[in-house]
Amino acid sequence: MAGKIKVATTSLAGCFGCHMSFLDIDERILALAEIAEFDRSPLTDIKHCSDQVDIGLVEGGLCNAENVHTLREFRESCKILVAVGACAINGGLPAMRNHIPLQECLEESYLDAVGVENPQIPNDVELPLLLNKVHPIHEVVKVDYFLPGCPPSADVFWKFLTDLASGAEPSLPYELVHYD
């Protein structure tokens, strides 16, 4: 491969666990740095993607309007978009709120719960509004690859990225496929 591949990452409605797991590739990060360069990512603190990124890794599902904007920017900027982890792939644990109507969730959290003082639904325009349901990212943008796991193990990231960097079609062997 000519230059280094540009990789960006982001976390939507996730727990950052996938990012932590990514860092578990430990010393292989040095080898990775030989072939890849990090663009927008909570790991680099770069806030927006540069023009064209090769690979975008997305952790977390969509629970609010801001998640949707971020995801769309990612899709726009990344040649290859990857859904990373259970939350990005099926909504994950945040989606367990899906069978409770949003109205009840908000009432329970901000109005009716014991110990709530000055009950009111937050209405600051800076705060992103919640979607009725938490959605996995493939329901809103086209997704090219999926890395399952909660979180996917460091080996999954390593295998996937090295496959791609070497120009091979990424594939995960049986041992690396996990939904938990």
């Binding site: 859904a83 259970a86 792939i89 099926n90 909504g91 994950g92 644990l93 989606a95 367990m96 899906n98 069978h99 349901k133 959605h135 996995p136 493939h138 329901e139 997704v143 690859y145 999926f146 890395l147 399952p148 909660c150 594939s171 995960l172 049986y174 496929v177 996990h178 939904y179 938990d180």
Partner: protein, 245 residues
């Protein structure tokens, strides 16, 4: 006695009169993916994971009788893709959050997903609202994970003689019900030793306070794929039935 023969993916497989294709396959050590089938119970044929091509036509291997000269296709890319899509359908129609499921690692739905290299559920999720029944002191029913295979229905009816479970509703609203006036498990005579409590292929029927007992790495499908596990477990059952015939 002349030996009956069919072929699966070109391999010659003997069978005995009255066997289904999946029984013949299992006895010969050939795995055909399946979920609603369990050789201990009456064949059912609803999940369609065991779809094979018999002389060019799609059939459910778990219900279709083996016959001389059948040319069966099983482990083909096309069939496995079909099976993967069917597995994805089962995932999206329910609520499967594996990371928080006690069955994870020991679950056949999940294991079939792994076996078929299913990396995502592909379709938009239905996120249905389903009732959880935690009323019983020992047995838990989480319908979010039910795949409507009716194994518990068959086990309770045919083995336990209790008829604790039944399928109700229609179409996408089909759901498992409990045979009591309240519709709750606590008002049935189910007991933790019942066969019905132990046959659920997924994490829908669970024994309370047994969750997450086996550490990750040692669970059923951590080391072996479902093909191996299934054959190991089911071959003796099929063989025994064969002798009983």
């Amino acid at each position: 006695m002349t030996e009956h023969m069919l072929t699966i993916d070109g391999q010659r497989i003997p069978f005995t009169e009255g066997q289904t294709i999946i029984e013949a396959a299992t006895a010969a050590g050939v795995y055909i993916p399946h979920l609603c089938h369990n050789p201990e119970f009456k064949p059912h044929g609803s999940c369609k994971l065991c779809t094979v091509k018999v002389n060019g036509r799609n059939c459910s291997a778990c219900t279709f009788p083996a016959a001389d000269g059948q040319e069966v296709l099983n482990n083909t890319q096309e069939l496995n893709e079909t099976r993967r899509t069917i597995t994805q359908m089962l995932f999206i129609e329910g609520n499967h959050f594996c990371p928080s499921c006690e069955k994870s690692g020991n679950c056949q739905l999940q294991a079939v997903g792994y076996y078929l290299n299913m990396l995502d559920a592909h379709f938009p999720f239905f996120y249905p609202s389903r009732e959880v029944d935690a009323s019983h002191h020992e047995v838990m029913l989480d319908r979010d994970r039910c795949i409507l295979c009716e194994l518990c229905v068959r086990a309770s009816r045919d083995v336990d003689g209790k008829n604790v479970f039944a399928l109700s509703g229609r179409g996408i609203n089909s759901h498992l019900i409990v045979n009591s006036t309240t519709g709750k498990l606590k008002d049935t005579d189910i007991s933790v030793d019942d066969k019905a409590v132990h046959v659920c292929p997924v994490g829908a029927i669970l024994i309370k306070r047994k969750g997450f007992e086996v550490p990750i790495g040692e669970r059923i499908y951590d080391g072996q794929d479902i093909g191996q596990v299934s054959l190991e477990h089911e071959m003796p059952i099929v063989e025994e039935a064969e002798h009983g015939r």
